[in-house]
Amino acid sequence: MEYIIAGFFQAIQLIISGDNQTWSAVSASIRVTTYSMMASLLIGIPSGFILGYFNFPGKRKLRLAVDTLLALPTVFIGLVVYAFLTRKGPLGEFGLLFTLSGIAIGQTILALPVVIALCATAVEAMDRNLRITLISLGANRRQLFITSLWEVRFGIIAAALNAYGRVMTEVGISMMVGGNIKWHTRTITTAIALETGKGMFATGIALGLILLLISFIVNVSLSLLRKKN
């Protein structure tokens, strides 16, 4: 137990002293999750809206497929993305394997079903009188779409938070697609796995605390935003 407590204090020291290795992993994690969240929200929000708002043939089957993808194992996504990005794979020529962009592609695949499914649920729960109200006030199709999205913003924030939680804490994709290369593709989670394996608990705990802190800051910011609205 003592080594855990000692590790905790050393971790505080590492964070305060600005340990380069620790902050490199933090920087890589923030960058890669920013890319993947931007991509998944850009694709996922309109897709979720379409899935929740419109009735079309095959909608139920599509919804079932999206819900199934919610349980995608990260190592499986890592495997598939690796197979596509490896030199002999179909996207090998782009040289994305062992890069942050490669990890971001994998994390986008991970986050996308979460964003689509939860946005679709939020849109489905939307009051049908909203559409009637907006049309009767003179909204055109584009205004109808934008205002409807704004009305379900809290549901979309919840979807984004959920997806962010998944991409920030995943290890499988970052490890397999990124290769855990020091100063380059080492993220907080892959660093924790590595440092723990080496018996370096202090670094592992420091990174874990930072992970928690980032999560806390994101949640508090969104909560403040929600209150303001």
Binding site: I132, T133, S136, L137, N140, R141, Q143, W150
Partner: protein, 341 residues
């Protein structure tokens, strides 16, 4: 030369899941009128209003607006017609943002706060007190009034109201009624109102449209009895009024025919009146007396087990003070005077 109607419906059919809910061959609504829409639940009133508001496209048929073919999102109607649903929806924002949403869409250059205050005042709410409230800080009646203010601020050419006073308190109901009339007074707005409150409709409307089972069953100000009708063992046809009382009727030509009885053919009697007929009489309460603007006659509204009827007072009845709101009266008509539609 008469003015072209604001609406003209031709061969309109609307279906939900292959079941026809509205079927109107021909209907016109004149400009600048207040038209009441009456009929039992499920008769198609809301569907018709949604079609006229261009929120839904009819399965078949055409709706002409101001002599132009129009459909949802058409630029010819988008800023002309507005509809207030029975259950209002307020967006998750402040009252002023809800009320001025339509102005923003229209890129209206005016002082939106000032206009919002004026619209709130039309529905009897104080701008200072309500403009900055959030959507969840309103009672049901206040929310309905804010929703109406969001329509009135647009100075619409057509205002469509679906049971605007159904779920609100008495004060809100009074304010909504007043504001609906103000729209026509101020901007010559054509107003269509669907309501179960026949008394109110008869009072304010220039014309009445009756719907039954998705079809037009009559037009004008009169009593109308919708089915189901039933025949007793002796072959006499009846219409049950409420739980216990019934009116004898002539034989309905069709299953879904509606019986029209003019107010001049409906007679009321005091319980002490020795002249009342013993057959085909029901007991009710006189709820309102009003003077018909055009024909200088006094019309009584009588409530019988939740059903409203109108009857002209005779010259003699007008002279005596035996009829007043709250008085129990007897109501009767001759089944042979029914006009079936």
């Amino acid at each position: 030369m008469s003015q072209a109607p604001i609406y003209r419906i031709q061969n309109l059919v609307h279906q939900y899941h292959s079941s026809t809910v509205l079927e109107i061959d021909e209907l016109t609504i004149p400009k600048h009128t207040i038209v009441g829409l009456a009929g039992p639940n499920g008769s198609g009133k809301t569907t018709l209003l949604k079609m006229l508001a261009f929120i839904e496209k009819p399965s078949k048929g055409l709706i002409w607006f101001d002599e132009n073919k129009a459909e949802p999102f058409s630029s010819k109607v988008r800023f002309q017609v507005t509809y207030l649903p029975q259950v209002p929806y307020l967006m998750k924002r402040t009252v002023i943002d809800n009320i001025t949403y339509g102005l923003k869409i229209r890129k209206d250059p005016g002082d939106h706060r000032q206009k919002c205050f004026e619209a709130l005042s039309m529905v009897g709410l104080s701008g200072e007190e309500f403009a900055d409230r959030k959507w969840f800080e309103l009672s049901g009646g206040e929310a309905q009034r804010v929703a109406l203010a969001a329509r009135l601020i647009l100075k619409p050419r057509v205002l469509l109201l679906d049971e605007p006073t159904a779920n609100v308190d008495e004060n809100s109901s009074r304010m909504i009624r007043r504001a609906s009339l103000l729209a026509r007074e101020k901007w010559n707005t054509t107003v269509l109102i669907a309501s179960h409150d026949l008394d109110w409709l008869m009072n304010i409307c220039d014309d009445m449209i009756y719907l039954f089972q998705g079809q037009l069953s009559g037009r004008g100000k009169y009593n109308i009895l919708f089915g189901p009708f039933y025949q007793d063992a002796e072959g006499v046809w009846w219409k049950q009024i409420g739980t216990g009382q019934r009116f004898m009727i002539s034989r309905p030509p069709l299953k879904n025919s509606a019986a029209v009885i003019l107010s001049s053919d409906m007679h009321i009697f005091s319980q002490t009146d020795s002249t009342f007929p013993e057959s085909n009489t029901v007991r009710g309460m006189l709820t309102n007396l009003r003077i018909e603007k055009s024909r200088s006659k006094v019309i009584a509204t009588i409530l019988v087990d939740g059903f409203q009827f109108i009857a002209d007072l005779s010259e003699e009845q007008k002279q005596n003070s035996n009829f007043y709101p709250g008085k129990e009266v007897l109501l009767s008509f001759n089944p042979n005077n029914i006009k079936w539609q």
